[in-house]
Amino acid sequence: MARFTADITPHPEAIGRLADDVSDFLRGAGVDARAVHHVALVIEEILTNVATHGGCPDLPATIALEVRQDRVSGEIGDQGRSFDPRTAPTPDIDAPIDERQIGGLGLHLVKHLTSALEYRSDGTQNWTTFCIPRT
């Protein structure tokens, strides 16, 4: 079972580099291109959320991934404000352009692309875990 871990300070450039490293690792582990893209996107969206809404973008976050036969499972630990991504309001993606809200899309993508999404806080860290199916 291939495993990837990394520490990151969630700044924009670092998030981009991490998404590249994750993609390289997953491709090397034989994961299909679509799942590679989904994992990179989910990590990017969760870390972008930590960077923009977490309140402490200079505190490091940790990422761990495991490649399993039918899925990629991941865990992100961050020290930002407590936030359960599962409770984020769902944006109305059918609204006409005038009424279309521009927020909330990132977590909408995360919920859509993951087959499992869990969250817990241990008082100092947020732990977001997810699974993304391989195809």
Binding site: R34, I97, D98, R100
Partner: protein, 111 residues
Amino acid sequence: MQFIISDEAGATAKIVLVGKLDIAGADVIALALATLAGSKKGLVVDLSGVTFLASIGVRHLVMATKTLTRKGGKLVLVGPTDAVKEVLVTSGVTDLMPIVATERDAYALIG
């Protein structure tokens, strides 16, 4: 993320985006996209060179579309890869900004 703008003199402009339209890439294109949306009637956005699209990139495209639509204009996307197209479809924006295969189709649609 890099971009090239052409046809600046007419009512319709084209912007070609190349690279990752992620949180860092969105910062690079934000001003150019907003300026074009504010000054043009039509905007052709060539996505064929975009390798990764995150929600922040979609937000910038939606904001530009809002600006153009308010004055009766249009934003058309050209040639996204399957991965990028999937993000656009999942985000529910393909009814706001049409996706076409070629630049010629985009100009025809804008008229």
